[in-house]
């Protein structure tokens, strides 16, 4: 009987419960455990960073440094972490603002709490409705100056970011300086494709892919690069274009949400 009830619950979740509700459940979990999740992600990223080589110093200098380190680290550790986080945020936004066209773009910096799914096609961030985040807004990587995805779900204090490689992601894009626009569809596995582009347009490998301008985002922003371009096997008059995002999503820790720009639902 227990097994039957369990199977029934699983089938209800799988077929009847809408994705919005499951998304809210996941955001509630991420919100409840945001501190350990963020701390764990920080440790994971730190473990992937290569440590710089240590220069040779004398024994006396080494001992003096250790003593000084021991005396100050407890007092300064928390303050340093808070200061560095604030500086990173300001630096990231400043780099964006220095670029032409970005002076007046309303941005909201956010921290990635955790990947939302196994395939790493979605992220959970620590900004929500209280920070004017809404579904459909673009999400940008300040380090790469590129669009990484859009907001797909939002709660008062958190939100889900659907990356451009997510199969449910569809973003209007243009390719290089060609007078052609298409719809970039995520394919998972860190790739996306742009179908229905005529072969009369000279698309080649390495061409940048820009998100089309939207209200509040008046400057074209790169989002991916063409990695493969060959005639479609089923429709030889159309290209089969594969693209890859310019951002290294696995190592992202900070992003910014473009507050005004919203994709039509």
């Amino acid at each position: 009987m227990l097994f039957t009830w369990g199977m029934l619950a699983g089938l209800i979740f799988l077929f009847l419960v809408p994705k919005d509700l499951t998304g809210q459940l996941q955001l509630a979990y991420a919100r409840a455990f945001r501190w350990p999740l963020a701390a764990g992600r920080g440790l994971t990223l730190a473990s992937r960073t290569a440590t710089p080589p240590v220069q040779d110093i004398s024994r006396k200098d080494h001992k003096a440094l250790l003593t000084a380190y021991g005396q100050t680290r407890n007092e300064l550790a928390n303050l340093q972490a808070q200061l560095q986080e604030a500086h990173r945020t300001i630096e990231g936004l400043t780099k964006l603002r220095d670029r032409p066209g970005w002076e007046n773009v309303p941005l909201r910096p956010a921290t990635i709490i955790a990947p939302a799914d196994q395939a790493h096609n979605e992220l959970i961030i620590n900004r929500g409705q209280q920070d004017d985040v809404a579904v459909g807004q673009f999400v940008i990587s300040p380090d790469d100056h590129a669009i990484t995805g859009t907001i797909s779900d939002v709660s008062p204090k958190g939100a889900k970011v659907r990356l451009i490689t997510d199969p449910a992601s569809k973003i209007a894009v243009t390719i290089a300086d060609l007078n052609v626009s298409g719809l970039m569809e995520g394919r998972g596995n860190n790739t996306a494709r742009i179908p229905l582009i005529s072969t009369k347009h000279k698309v080649k490998k390495g061409d940048p892919v820009y998100a089309r301008k939207q209200p509040g985002l008046d400057t074209p922003v790169i989002t991916a690069r063409v990695t493969e371009c060959k005639p479609d096997a089923d429709s030889p008059l159309l290209w089969d274009i594969k693209v890859q995002p310019v951002c290294d999503v696995a190592n992202l820790s900070e992003i910014a949400v473009v507050i005004s720009a919203q994709l039509p639902q």
């Binding site: 199977m7 196994q118 998972g188």
Partner: protein
């Protein structure tokens, strides 16, 4: 079954799975141990049948909540529940005392649950281009290597150490 300890263990495993297991990944980011799979096998072979069924579905729910596939919940509730129940029914046949048997069980259950989850997800939505080799082979293999080392601390936490029970039920002279 100490349900409060069980709840704490599942919560801790869920948080660790989402946050810290990435630091143990090898070759690619999605090849990392699955703590919830290790928990599933542990409770399925050591608990009473009723408790094993309940814990299997709860662990499946935690797995779907913390790292869902394509935003869906349900595939791992069902796959963990089915194979956890099946493993519990085979308790008397399969001996999992030795580490090598535990590892083999974890690998097999990991392979089967990943396969069933993938099929169930496919029924509901078009699946993403995930690496099937990572999901069906490398991740269960990694979990199988790590699992036997975690069984002792988990048994201690859950007070499921059978050696302790034998002492308490020893004959009086």
């Amino acid at each position: 079954m100490h349900w409060l300890r069980f709840a704490v263990l599942v919560l801790v495993a869920s948080v660790l799975q989402t946050s810290l297991m990435g630091a143990l990944s090898i070759i690619r980011p999605d090849v990392k141990p699955d703590l919830l799979l290790i928990l599933l096998v542990f409770f399925a072979v050591r608990s009473k049948p009723t408790d094993a069924v309940i814990s299997s579905f709860i662990i499946g729910f935690a797995a779907d909540l913390t790292s869902p596939t394509m935003g869906l919940m349900g595939p791992r509730i069902i796959s963990f529940g089915v194979f956890g129940t099946l493993l519990s029914d085979l308790q008397g046949i399969i001996s999992t005392r030795r580490g090598i048997y535990q590892a083999a069980t974890i690998f097999l259950v990991g392979l089967l649950t990943a396969g069933l989850s993938y099929l169930l997800t496919f029924l509901r939505a078009e699946t993403a281009e995930v690496s099937l080799a990572a999901q069906l082979l490398w991740q269960p293999l990694y979990s199988a290597i790590l699992g036997p080392f975690l069984s002792l601390p988990m048994a201690w936490w859950m007070r499921m150490n059978k050696r302790g029970r034998r002492r308490r039920t020893g004959r009086r002279l």
